[in-house]
């Protein structure tokens, strides 16, 4: 037995523990029930609720188990008379000001206070005086407050400070007047704020969208996986009959610990949106009309067959691998390699040498122990919120986390070096880091005459010195017009510094899409195409110039495409468009010839491959609306209609199995072996540039339709954001309507002044109805006062 291990006795049971562990951790592990409110295993110890008082022999008074370190030969009684009396007394005090409104409280039935009062409290109250009442403040569209119920455990306050990294809630006032809240009326802004709903032991903080809609014991629960980012957070879907009532985290230490992002939690509100498709439709005399499946399938088959010579198949990287795999299998069975999921990408230079799938290069929990990291083109806090929580832990431990971004993004930790520059200077900045690191970049042509400065040296040194360091490319890198150059330099820096090269895949199934073969130049499992075939067109090529026909699967090109204006023109010019989709959209309304309605998240079995290459499957738990069907069945019948073999699966699991067979020999790597390096492109001019990102609540069709998310702070992104200097140069003031013009089309957006956007740039996000008429996310733009 090592020195670190000690023996103690709890309730007569001999236990071992690590020296310095808190008693409650030991009892929890041993399955001994100790009541608690303020203690939470992921938060610091507050010891303010006093509910976990237990008797420790030789201690004169009961001690709180959550704040009592174990000692050798300690003898503890958790249920002795002394302990029980203490617990009962605490319970009585806690209930003094707690309202007896359990019958109308959302927490009723799953309330820690209710449970513990039942187990440890007294049957009747001796308290006859008035109870205090707290008037609520509105804290946003996601969290409902009923602060009269609050017992001041401060879990939510500690969550904000310790986990989310944004201290928004606090305990104001003193004594009986203590209140938990924001003090001033404000919406909370954290992208993981919903977790306070779970950790609140009472009904003070509840989910606003599902408020008053069901009792917890009437709900059934099914495990699932969130389809919104490449973390693949594990969730439970709670159903009231056949509708989703709410989504809560499912603990998985390796993936999401016990947290989920607000996007994972509240996206389900988009499932039942008004434009949800429940019937197949065909266009007759220019009008889309509902029809039966056989009509729609026959029409689709006819279109696909007659246009197979010039057909573009575009798939969303947010759908399941089964759908992705079947999409490309169908495309290839029809004789085309024009299939792609990389809708937002502009630069495909490195696609041939790209690894089999983009991956993190490490496990998610490795993000917590990095000594140094350089993130290039990543708003990780909003794009992969749960991964960002882990990275934050590295930063708090002293890890040097640096960024090269087209904008200074608000972080929940202190960045070591944060370079926010015009997007066309990002390559130069990264080039300087590569130089500072002594990286071998000799094969890059036309390199600039730039010398690294101190900040570049600082980044390079940190990566070199760190025992565990990483270079990571994020969502913005992938959308960047010089993606290959960023990849090349990132790769060179990683090799020179000994850092791990990691990708933060942009969408829930970006990795899965690569594995499924939903790319024009490779088959499933990253296999090379047969020798007699040449690669198909990339998503950009398919959408920049109109093709005869399109097959759209789960994607909304006006929001997903790199150049939505061109994409919409191409759809309009195409002879036919077949869409396999869960939702109607404006572009489908205008251009689709046939729409096949399919099941989506929570309704169908499907698998997601996350950033670490882990395959996570979830069963369908609710029924798709009306005539909507799971897409694997749609593919089966469509293939039958087209007289194609190989689609007669009996179950969706058979599709997964087939794909897994193709992926059996896949080894993960991120090192891109450039056979010819991309040439350096000098920043073009001093012209005004548009830069942007796809905001976190605009990433996929479900999220785009979730009203609570759209109404939250992060949902409101339709602005032309620029620095004060830039605005005054353009004679624009905060709130002015400005006209943003690209390639001849203009949209009008309110101006927002924010010095986090570099001069020379106007920040105009994509993925929004307000900006869908525009072109390149990164490119020249004209901006003037409307």
């Amino acid at each position: 037995m090592s020195d670190d291990t000690i023996n103690l006795t709890v309730d007569g049971k001999p236990l071992t523990a690590k020296r310095g562990q808190m008693l409650i951790e030991v009892t929890d592990r041993a399955g001994i029930d100790v009541p608690r409110f303020c203690y939470h295993k992921k938060l610091s110890v507050a010891a303010n609720c006093r509910m976990c008082l237990v008797e420790v022999e030789k201690a004169p008074k009961p001690l709180p188990a959550c704040a009592t370190p174990v000692m050798p030969d300690m003898v503890v009684h958790t249920a002795s008379k002394l302990a029980r009396d203490a617990q009962k007394g605490t319970m009585e005090f806690l209930l003094i000001n707690h309202p007896l409104d359990c019958p109308i409280c959302d927490q009723g039935g799953e309330c820690e206070l209710q449970d513990v009062a039942m187990g440890y409290g007294s049957g009747a109250s001796q308290y006859t005086e008035g109870k205090r009442v707290v008037f609520d403040k509105y804290i946003g569209p996601l969290i409902a407050t009923e602060m009269t119920r609050c017992i001041h455990c401060t879990r939510c306050v500690r969550f904000g400070e310790e986990i989310a990294g944004i201290r928004e809630l606090g305990a104001t006032g003193r004594g009986e007047n203590v209140r938990i809240g924001t003090f001033i009326e404000k919406s909370v802004v954290s992208e993981v704020s919903g977790n306070v709903i779970d950790i609140c032991p009472v009904g003070a903080l509840t989910a606003r969208p599902s408020r008053f809609s069901a009792r917890s014991w009437e709900l059934s629960q099914q495990p699932s996986v969130s389809p919104h980012d490449s973390v693949g957070s594990n969730v439970f879907v709670h159903m009231d009959g056949s509708t989703v009532n709410r989504v809560i985290p499912r603990e998985n230490e390796a993936v999401n610990e016990v947290w989920i992002a607000d996007r994972d939690r509240f996206s389900y509100q988009g499932l039942d949106s008004k434009d949800r498709l429940s019937s197949p439709m065909v266009r007759i005399d220019g009008k889309l009309v509902e029809c039966d499946w056989s009509t729609a399938l026959a029409a689709s088959a006819e279109i696909l067959k007659s246009n197979s010579q010039d057909l573009g198949v575009l798939v969303s990287p947010s759908i399941t691998v089964e759908e992705l795999y079947l999409s490309q299998k169908l495309a290839r069975a029809l004789g085309t390699n024009n299939v792609d999921h990389r809708l937002g990408q502009l630069d495909f230079f490195a696609q041939d040498v790209a690894p089999v799938m983009p991956w993190l290069g490490m496990q998610l929990n490795d993000l917590e122990t990095l000594d140094a990291a350089l993130l290039v083109g990543s708003n990780i806090r909003k794009d992969q919120p749960i991964a960002a929580l882990r990275l934050r832990k590295s930063a708090l431990k002293g890890g040097a986390i640096s960024f090269i971004n087209p904008r200074e993004f608000p972080l929940h930790f202190e960045a070591s070096v944060s370079i926010a520059t015009r997007y066309d200077h990002m390559v130069s900045e990264l080039y300087c880091v590569a130089r500072a690191a002594g990286a071998d970049i000799s094969s890059m042509a036309d390199v600039p005459q730039l010398d690294p400065s101190d900040k570049h040296q600082q980044i390079a040194d940190a990566l070199k010195e760190g025992e565990r360091s990483a270079v990571m490319l994020g969502n913005i890198s992938v959308q960047h017009p010089a993606y290959a150059q960023l990849q090349y330099l990132g790769s060179a820096i990683a090799q020179a510094t000994g850092a791990t090269l990691g990708m933060l895949p942009e969408r829930a199934n970006t990795a899965g899409a690569w594995l499924s073969g939903a790319v024009p130049h490779r088959g499933a499992g990253g296999m090379a195409l047969p020798a007699d075939q040449s690669p198909g067109k990339t998503a950009l090529e398919m959408l920049d110039n109109a093709m005869q026909a399109y097959l759209l699967i789960g994607c909304e090109v006006e929001f997903d495409a790199a150049r939505p204006a061109y994409a919409l023109k191409s759809l309009a010019a195409a002879k036919d468009v077949v869409a396999i989709s869960s939702y109607m959209s404006e572009s489908l309304q205008e251009h689709a010839s046939v729409i096949l309605p399919v099941a989506t998240f929570t309704e169908v079995y499907g698998t997601y491959v996350n950033a670490t290459g882990s395959w996570q499957s979830a069963r369908g738990t609710t029924q798709p609306p009306g005539d909507a069907r799971p897409s694997w069945k749609v593919f089966r019948v469509l293939a039958q209609e087209l007289q194609l073999d190989g689609f007669s699966y009996d179950t969706p699991e058979a599709v997964t199995k087939e794909l897994q067979g193709h992926c059996a020999s896949v080894t993960l790597s991120n090192i891109t072996q450039f056979s010819n390096a991309p040439g350096f492109q000098a920043p073009s001019s001093d012209a005004l540039l548009r830069a942007g990102e796809t905001p976190m609540y605009a990433t996929d069709p479900i999220v785009r339709r979730s009203q609570p998310l759209q109404k939250s702070m992060d949902g409101k992104q339709a602005f032309a954001v620029m620095s004060n200097a830039q605005a005054s140069q353009l004679s624009i003031a905060e709130g002015d309507d400005v006209s943003v013009r690209q390639n001849g089309t203009a949209v009008s957006l309110p101006a927002k002044l924010d010095n986090s956007v570099p001069d020379g740039c106007v920040w105009v996000p994509s993925g929004l109805p307000e900006t869908r008429a525009l072109g390149d996310l990164f490119g020249a733009v004209e901006v003037s006062k409307a």
């Binding site: 400070e161 944004i166 201290r167 006032g173 003090f183 802004v189 608000p410 929940h412």
Partner: protein, 173 residues
């Protein structure tokens, strides 16, 4: 440790706090290590309150938060905890009558009653002309030998009688 959340826009301290306040706050900040400048929050808040006729607006608290690189909610917590800080507008003269045990034995209740009747306000309220703020029931101010006593704008007055109270309060501006 709680720094300013990146999403929160705080005012420029120099635009809210006057030069004198800034100078005083900065002097206080020199007394603590740089990474613990939030230790100056109590002093900073009382300086800010002083510049604003005895109460702290949200804007002032935000300016203190910006100056000390604290989360604004952490400043609100401190300001709302201590009875010396007011977070709502109050009368410009702060009258705090001690009602703790020694003063109570010496008749502080009748002093409170006298002042309440004199101005027609209850403890914790201000006169409508904004002249007098009768602070919440004050606890021991450590002048027990002179009870009943009160503190008016930081000045102690001991051995109070209704007449002496009238004289003191009538002399205020």
């Amino acid at each position: 440790m709680s720094s300013v959340p990146a999403d929160v826009q705080l005012p420029d301290p120099a635009a809210v706090l006057n030069a004198h306040s800034i100078e005083e706050i900065e002097e206080w900040m020199t007394r603590f290590p740089d990474e613990q400048k939030q230790s100056a929050v109590l002093a900073a808040l009382s300086i800010a309150q002083h510049q604003n006729q005895g109460w702290l607006s949200t804007e002032l608290m935000d300016a203190v938060a910006a100056k000390l690189e604290m989360a604004p909610i952490a400043v609100y917590e401190v300001a709302s905890f201590y009875s010396m800080f007011e977070t709502k507008p109050v009368g410009r003269n702060c009258v705090a009558i001690c009602t703790n045990i020694s003063c109570m034995l010496m008749g502080s209740d009748s002093i409170v009653e006298h002042v309440e009747n004199k101005y027609g306000i209850k403890i914790g309220e201000s006169t409508t002309d904004g002249r007098i703020f009768l602070k919440v029931e004050e606890e021991c101010l450590a002048a027990c030998s002179g009870g009943p006593m009160m503190q008016v704008n930081h000045v102690y007055h001991t051995k109070l009688t209704p007449q002496s109270v009238d004289e003191i309060l009538d002399a205020l501006d």
